[in-house]
C-alpha cells in the first residue's frame, strides 16, 4: 500500500536519522514552511488591516466562501488523518468514523455549555472523550479484524447515532445543541478569517504529531501490524495493545475534528453524523492515498471541492439552453452522492494508491527534469 517516496538516483539514505527526516531535502522544508507562512500572512494581513481586503489577490483570502472551504478542509482533514492512522497505517477498518466525529462535536459543546470549560480546553477534552468512546467500541477490534470489524463498526455507527437522539442531557436530543466560538485571552475567533487561522493552527499541530508518530517505535509497530500481524506478534509487538491504541488515536483525531466542526457552525445536530459522512471519510483517505498523512489532506481537499465544482458546473449548464431542466436542477443532491460513490470506485480501480502517489510521481518528474530516468 504505502510506497517509498521516489528520490533522484544516487540519493541514498545512509543512516536511520536520514530515513526518518520530516522533509526529504532542505528545499522541500523551505517550500512547505514558506507555504504555510504565506497562508497565515495572506489571511492575517487583511484581518489586521481591513483596507487590504479590497486588493485583488488578498481579497480572495478575505472572502468568506473560500475561507469556509478552507475551514472545512481543516476540520474534515483532521478527522481523515485519524482514520488514515487506523486504516492506512494499522490496516483496521472503521465504518463508524462519523459517529466519533459526532461524539467530539457534542462533547465539546456540552463541556463548554454545562461545565463552563473554555472552548480552547474543551476541544482537546472532547478529543479525549471521543477516544474513550472509541476505545469502548474498539475493544472488540482487539479480537476481530477485516470484515468482522467493518460490520462491528457499522453497528457502532448506528448505535451511537441512535444515542445522539436519545441522550437529551448530553446532546439536546433531536433539537440539537448550541456551541460557542472559541476565545483566547479575550480574543474571540468568531469570524471566518479568525476561525480559519485557529483551525489551521490546530490542523498543523495534529499533522506534525501524526507524521512524527510514524517515526516512533509505536508508529512502526502499527505499520508492522498492518503488513503482517503474525510476524509482528512474533517480533514482540503486542497486537491487542496496538490495535486498540490505533482505534483510540483515530477516535481522538475524529473528536478534535468534530469539536472544530461544532464551534465553527455554532450548532450541532445529530443528523450531520450519518453513515454517509463515515463513507465520505473513507473516501477521502482512499482518494488521497492510504498510509499517507499528506494523502489524507489531499483527499479531503478533493472531497470538499467535489460538490462545489459540481455545483459550479451545474450553474454553467443551467445557463445553456438545454441544461436548464428541472430533472437536472433537482438532481444536484443525488448527483453529488453519485459522484462520491463513483470517485471511490474509480480511484480504487485505476489509482489504488491515491492522489499522494500521483503527487510523488509529479514531484519525481520535476526534480529529475529534464532527465527523468
Amino acid at each position: 500500500m504505502a510506497s517509498v517516496s521516489m528520490r533522484p538516483c544516487g540519493d541514498f539514505r545512509t543512516s536511520y536519522k536520514d530515513d526518518s527526516r520530516l522533509f526529504d531535502t532542505a528545499l522541500t522544508a523551505r517550500i512547505g514552511i514558506g507555504f504555510l507562512l504565506a497562508l497565515y500572512l495572506l489571511v492575517g494581513l487583511p484581518l489586521a488591516f481591513p483596507g487590504l481586503a479590497d486588493w485583488p489577490v488578498l481579497g480572495w483570502f478575505a472572502d468568506s466562501y473560500f475561507l469556509s472551504l478552507g475551514i472545512q478542509i481543516c476540520l474534515y482533514g483532521v478527522a481523515a488523518m485519524g482514520l488514515n492512522i487506523l486504516v492506512g497505517f494499522t490496516g483496521q477498518i472503521s465504518l463508524g468514523h462519523a459517529a466519533f466525529f459526532g461524539v467530539g462535536a457534542f462533547s465539546s459543546a456540552w463541556l463548554n455549555n454545562t461545565w463552563g470549560i473554555p472552548v480552547v480546553l474543551a476541544i482537546p477534552l472532547a478529543g479525549l472523550m471521543a477516544a474513550a468512546v472509541g476505545l469502548l467500541f474498539g475493544a472488540p477490534a482487539a479480537r476481530i479484524k477485516g470484515l468482522y470489524l467493518a460490520i462491528a463498526t457499522l453497528a457502532a455507527q448506528f448505535i451511537i447515532e441512535d444515542l445522539f437522539v436519545r441522550l437529551d442531557w448530553f446532546t439536546g436530543g433531536s433539537s440539537g445543541a448550541m456551541a460557542n466560538a472559541p476565545e483566547l485571552f479575550g480574543f474571540a475567533f468568531d469570524t471566518d478569517q479568525t476561525y480559519f487561522l485557529f483551525a489551521l493552527t490546530i490542523t498543523i499541530v495534529l499533522t506534525v504529531l501524526a507524521t512524527n508518530l510514524m517515526r516512533t517505535r509505536d508508529g512502526r509497530a502499527l505499520v508492522a501490524v498492518r503488513d503482517h500481524y503474525l510476524s509482528a506478534e512474533v517480533m514482540g509487538i503486542n497486537l491487542t495493545r496496538y490495535r486498540v491504541m490505533s482505534f483510540g488515536l483515530a477516535a481522538f483525531y475524529a473528536g478534535i475534528g468534530g469539536a472544530l466542526y461544532a464551534h465553527y457552525l455554532m450548532f450541532v445536530s445529530a443528523e450531520a453524523f450519518t453513515i454517509l459522512l463515515s463513507i465520505q471519510f473513507l473516501g477521502m483517505i482512499i482518494i488521497g492515498g492510504l498510509g499517507s498523512v499528506k494523502g489524507s489532506i489531499l483527499g479531503t481537499i478533493f472531497m470538499v471541492l467535489l460538490p462545489e465544482v459540481m455545483a459550479g458546473g451545474m450553474g454553467m449548464l443551467q445557463a445553456t439552453e438545454w441544461g436548464n431542466q428541472p430533472f437536472l436542477v433537482n438532481g444536484l443532491a443525488f448527483l453529488r452522492e453519485m459522484a462520491i460513490g463513483a470517485a471511490i470506485i474509480l480511484f480504487l480501480i485505476f489509482e489504488p494508491d491515491g492522489l499522494a502517489h500521483r503527487w510523488r510521481q509529479i514531484r519525481a518528474y520535476w526534480s529529475l527534469y529534464p532527465f527523468s530516468h
Binding site: A155, R166, I286, L335, L348, P352
Partner: protein, 297 residues
C-alpha cells in the same frame, strides 16, 4: 402482558425473518464463492423492486411478464457489475473490496432515488387484500405469499447446490479456487453466476417486500439488516444465514414488544439487532455456524 400482541409480533418476525434469511443467503452466496463482502445487497432489492414497479405501472405489463423481465434485467445487471467493477478488484486487500461495494451502494441508491423519487409508491394489487386468520392471528395474504416464496427460494437454493452441475462448480470454487480452476471449472463464469443469482433472488425479495410495504428507498436498509443476520449465522454458512435472518426478525419484533410495553425508549426495532451484533462479536466472533479460521504462520 399482552399475549396476543406478542404472538402477532412474533409471527410478523418469522415472516420478515425469512425474507431477511433470503437476502442473507444471497449475501453469503457472493461471499462464499467470490470472497467479496457485498455492501450493496440492499440496493439490489431496491433496484429490483423499482424496475418491477415501473414495468407494471408505466408499461402496464401483467405481473408475471413484468416479474420475469425484472429477473432477466437483474441477471444481466449482476453479471455486468461483476465484470466491470468487481473483476478488477480480485486480489486486492479486503478494505478495497469493501470500499468498492460501499461506493457501489451509495452510487446506486442515489441514482435510483434520483430516477424514481424518494417517496414510497404502492405496488398494484396482485393478491386480494382481505386479512386471513391463521390460528386466531391476522395475517396479510401478501405476507403469507412471501413466506411461501421464501421457502420456495430456499428449497431452490438447496436443490441447485446439491444436484446441479453449476451448483457443484460453485461449491468447489468456494472450497478452493485454485483447485477448482485446475479441474476445469471456469472460475470467471462461477463468479458471474454468483452475482447473477444473488441479484435475481434479492430483486425477488425486494418485489415481495414492495408488495407488502410499498416501494421506497427504505428497502435498501434491508441490506444493512442482513449484517446482524449473517454474523449471527456465521458468514460462510447458508443454513446459518437463514437461521440468522429468522433470529433477527424475531429479535427486532420482540424488542419492539418489550419496548412498547415496558421500556418506552423508542426506535428499538432498528437498533436492537445492532446491540446484539456487538455483543456477539465480543463473545463469539465466528457466529453460530461459521467456520473458525485457524491461522498458521
Amino acid at each position: 402482558m399482552n399475549w396476543e400482541l406478542l404472538f402477532q409480533l412474533l409471527l410478523n418476525g418469522i415472516i420478515v425473518g425469512t425474507l431477511y434469511g433470503v437476502v442473507a443467503m444471497c449475501f453469503v452466496l457472493i461471499y462464499k464463492s467470490t470472497q467479496v463482502v457485498n455492501f450493496a445487497q440492499g440496493e439490489f432489492l431496491l433496484i429490483g423492486a423499482w424496475v418491477c414497479w415501473s414495468l407494471l405501472v408505466h408499461w402496464q405489463m401483467p405481473f408475471v411478464v413484468g416479474f420475469l423481465f425484472t429477473l432477466v434485467f437483474m441477471m444481466a445487471f449482476g453479471v455486468l457489475l461483476q465484470i466491470v467493477v468487481l473483476r478488477p478488484m480480485i486480489g486486492e486487500p479486503i478494505i478495497s473490496v469493501i470500499m468498492v461495494t460501499i461506493g457501489l451502494s451509495i452510487f446506486m441508491r442515489a441514482a435510483v432515488n434520483w430516477i424514481f423519487g424518494q417517496s414510497a409508491e404502492a405496488f398494484p394489487r396482485i393478491f386480494e387484500t382481505d386479512v386471513v386468520s391463521v390460528l386466531g392471528l391476522n395475517v396479510q395474504p401478501a405476507y403469507l405469499m412471501s413466506l411461501v416464496f421464501s421457502l420456495f427460494i430456499m428449497a431452490g437454493f438447496y436443490a441447485f447446490f446439491r444436484y446441479s452441475r453449476y451448483g457443484l462448480a460453485m461449491r468447489a470454487t468456494a472450497f478452493n479456487q485454485q483447485v477448482a480452476q485446475s479441474l476445469g471449472i471456469s472460475v470467471k463464469t462461477v463468479f458471474a453466476l454468483a452475482w447473477a443469482i444473488s441479484a435475481m433472488v434479492s430483486a425477488l425479495a425486494g418485489v415481495v417486500i414492495g408488495m407488502v410495504n410499498g416501494v421506497s428507498s427504505a428497502l435498501s436498509f434491508i441490506g444493512i439488516k442482513v449484517f446482524p443476520a449473517v454474523i449471527l449465522g456465521g458468514l460462510d454458512s447458508i443454513v446459518g444465514a437463514v437461521v440468522g435472518g429468522l433470529i433477527v426478525g424475531m429479535l427486532e419484533n420482540t424488542a419492539e414488544f418489550v419496548d412498547g410495553q415496558f421500556l418506552h425508549w423508542g426506535n428499538m426495532l432498528t437498533i436492537a439487532p445492532f446491540w446484539v451484533l456487538i455483543l456477539l462479536l465480543v463473545l463469539k466472533p465466528y457466529g453460530l455456524f461459521g467456520t473458525k479460521t485457524i491461522e498458521r504462520v
